[in-house]
């Protein structure tokens, strides 16, 4: 049974069956007497308009989002109200910390990025850290980098969470090629110019420790846990009198000039036991 619109207005309120008077709500037909409800064209039009509005709205939103999905911000500007924001920062790596569980069930890489306005810690959890190591896309102190991530705030702790290796991009400054003794002399002449730069140094190993060795008795090469972790397939055994080449970042360990490589890939043994290593 189809009811005419003009009959309905006179007899029933909207939502009630015009034939039997039962409450039907938004249904198309009365469950009691099977009469078609007079939703008519207007509801149909609203339905179509809603669908098109959703589709075009999402397409528009997608285009808008793709223009600048993670805007650049100055590190110093980042505050509590940035919580959960997706942003991109530019700066250079000034510190690296690597934490791993005894059973290696989890690991966290934390590196500090500094720009002219401030510093922020960037955190990468297990999956991302593994991905970075696999991609050989790990940070090294002194790197100029661009990082995209989400801002997380917990009380005084504010950090950028790195979700993927792809969101960390770096440029390593060109290294000054020299030898250990010469670097030491240059540093002694003008200390400020030779601290915090990247160098490519060759020298003879004169002392070996558990996580360091010395070159030419004047320069120390330090390889902490993360340097080893960033190159898991590289095993280097350095002995006294070996000739090695190290690329790294210069810093000061107490009064000793120290070179900090980015990973074990940056340490190369040239001569070991009198034999040249290919």
């Amino acid at each position: 049974m189809v009811i005419k619109k003009e009959d309905i207005k006179e007899k029933t309120k909207p939502g009630f069956c015009p034939n039997c008077g039962a409450y039907v709500g938004a249904f198309y037909s009365c469950p009691w007497c099977r009469s078609k409800m007079p939703h008519g064209t207007r509801l149909r039009i609203i339905q179509y308009v809603s669908i098109f509005a959703v589709i075009f709205g999402l397409v528009g939103l997608g285009i808008y989002a793709a223009i600048d999905p993670a805007p650049f911000v100055n590190i110093g500007d980042i505050g509590p109200t940035y919580s959960n924001g997706t942003v991109t920062i530019k700066g250079h790596v000034t510190n690296i910390d690597y934490r791993v569980a005894n059973d290696e069930s989890w690991k966290t890489l934390i590196f500090t990025v500094t720009d002219n306005t401030g510093s922020i810690d960037v955190k990468a959890y297990t999956e991302t850290t593994d991905e970075m190591i696999e991609d050989k896309n790990t940070p090294a102190i002194g790197d100029d980098c661009t990082v995209r991530g989400s801002i997380y705030i917990r009380g005084d702790e504010l950090y950028l969470l790195l979700d993927s290796s792809n969101y960390y991009k770096y440029q390593r400054p060109a290294a000054l090629v020299t030898n250990a003794t010469e670097l030491f002399n240059l540093y002694n002449a003008t200390p400020s110019e030779y601290l915090g730069i990247r160098v490519n140094v060759t020298g003879e190993v004169t002392k070996v420790g558990s996580s360091y060795f010395e070159l030419d008795n004047v320069t120390r090469v330090f390889f902490p846990e993360y340097v080893r972790a960033f190159a898991p397939e590289v095993t280097i055994s350095v002995y006294e009198e070996d000739i090695v080449e190290v690329i790294g970042f210069t810093e000061l360990y107490y009064d000793t000039l120290e070179i900090l490589p980015g990973s074990m890939y940056d340490i190369k043994i040239l001569i070991q036991g009198g034999e040249t290593i290919e």
């Binding site: 609203i46 939103l61 997608g62 793709a66 009380g155």
Partner: protein, 443 residues
């Protein structure tokens, strides 16, 4: 040792918070997180404010919202994500002149919920900590199952007395497929919101506000504005409420289960939790349903923020906890006790004010043109969204409103809109953020 003055200030600010929140909650569509966003913006200028005072204010505002929004949800039909289910039975009550009963039952549930949330957190903190640890690892499949259940458990509502079999099948599936359409559309909106920066970065802490208002509140307001003039019948102000023991037990059980799901599992709100809970306790009848809705919302909102106060662990659930952690992370048992006492005092004061407001509105609702109330709510929401998030916020609001309108015109479940958070969180948990971002051109 927390100074006694701070404890007194917390109590006083708690009472103030519950009053402010209750009044604000009467504005149709206004979510408490929108108000808290402005409070945060304002308070960030004052470094000397004790964070515990802010935490007390936040928590008591949640209680005020749980109570006040019962009134607006029933009388002005503007639910949020956790009360969408409540609107439908309460509308039936409203039409029968029993709106006060619906408001009272839901409000009573909220009071019981707030008290239970305190008891749960104080006496069950060790168990809850273990449970959260256990659930974290399983969150992905739990959320996925919940969403699948919400969609699969929807039964075609339209009898669709079509003439042909194909016609009947098509009519039934249109509703179900539109539910799926809403899930997908909300999910896409969530992907853009979570994995790209649509709003100004300095307002990221309110990143979901526009979407939630658009998905849940504005469609109802529009519906109220453009549907035929509502003739709300004169409401009966009863002195007693009908109910029996089994309804009470079902209501409490359903509310605790539903609220706890929302409280403990990331991205699942009380609305989704209640879908499970109703089945779990074989809930039947409108009274136990409305009571449990109020109860579960209180556990979801108040319990979630109180999880943050469990000493020794950081469990951050819900938007209010996010706001508090912008200031500090609580870590002592005394802070938990102060917050719990603030909750209880605010609830008592809130209930008193709630009954006064509910009675006042019940007496006058048949004389109020709810269209004007809805229009006021719409204007307030647009102004707040523009002020907080700029023109991009308005754009998000429009798209979200279009998505949120689909369930109304296709008669499907509105809770599908919660995919705006569940889908991106599942993607993130599955480690697919980059892949999905590349797929959507926002990598």
């Amino acid at each position: 040792m927390i100074p006694f003055e701070i404890i007194l200030i917390c109590t006083a600010i708690g009472i103030l918070g519950v009053i402010i929140a209750m009044v604000c909650s009467l504005i149709p569509g206004l979510h408490i997180y929108s108000i808290l966003g402005f409070v945060v913006l304002y308070l960030l200028n004052f470094e000397s404010i004790d964070p515990l005072v802010f935490a007390s204010f936040t928590t008591s505002m949640l209680i005020g919202y749980c109570l006040g929004s019962c009134i607006s949800a029933v009388y002005f039909q503007t639910p949020d994500d956790s009360s969408v289910f409540m609107v439908f039975p309460s509308q039936k009550y409203l039409q029968d002149g029993r709106g006060y009963e619906a408001v009272f039952l839901t409000g009573l549930g909220a009071v019981v919920g707030a008290v239970m949330a305190c008891l749960l957190i104080i006496f069950g903190s060790e168990f809850l900590t273990l449970l959260v640890d256990l659930l974290v690892e399983h969150s992905l499949w739990i959320i996925a199952t919940a969403m699948a259940f919400v969609w699969l458990s929807e039964w075609p509502k339209d009898p669709a007395r079509q003439k042909t079999r194909i016609g009947k099948l098509a009519a039934a599936w249109v509703q179900l497929l539109m539910g799926l359409f809403v899930i997908i559309a909300s999910g896409i909106l969530g992907i853009y919101l979570f994995f790209s920066q649509l709003i100004p970065p300095e307002r990221s802490f309110q990143g979901l506000a526009a979407a939630f208002v658009g998905l849940f509140a504005i469609p109802s307001i529009i519906q109220n504005l453009f549907s035929a003039k509502k003739d709300i019948p004169k409401q009966y102000l009863g002195k007693t409420i009908e109910g029996n023991t089994s309804e009470l037990i079902q209501g409490v059980a359903g509310g605790v289960i539903g609220g706890s799901i929302g409280m403990l599992i990331p991205s699942l709100t009380a609305g989704v939790g209640n879908t499970f809970a109703r089945h779990a306790v074989a809930q039947s009848g409108d009274r136990s349903f409305m009571f449990s809705q109020g109860l579960s919302r209180a556990i979801y909102y108040v319990g979630a923020v109180m999880l943050l106060f469990i000493p020794g662990v950081i469990i951050r659930r819900g938007g209010a906890a996010l706001f508090i952690t912008m200031f500090y992370v609580p870590n002592t048992y005394s802070e938990l006790i102060i917050i719990a006492s603030t909750v209880l005092i605010s609830t008592a004061v809130g209930w008193f004010i709630f009954t006064l407001i509910a009675k006042g509105i019940t007496k006058s609702i048949h004389r109020i043109n709810t269209r004007y109330v809805s229009l006021f709510g719409l204007i307030v929401m647009l102004i707040l969204t523009y002020y907080m998030l700029g023109i991009s916020g308005i754009f998000i609001l429009i798209v979200a409103t279009a998505i949120g309108y689909i369930p109304l015109v296709f008669n499907t479940r509105r809770i599908h809109c919660i995919s705006v958070i569940t889908i991106p969180i599942m993607i993130s948990m599955a480690g697919l953020t980059l892949v999905v971002s590349q797929l959507f051109g926002i990598a």
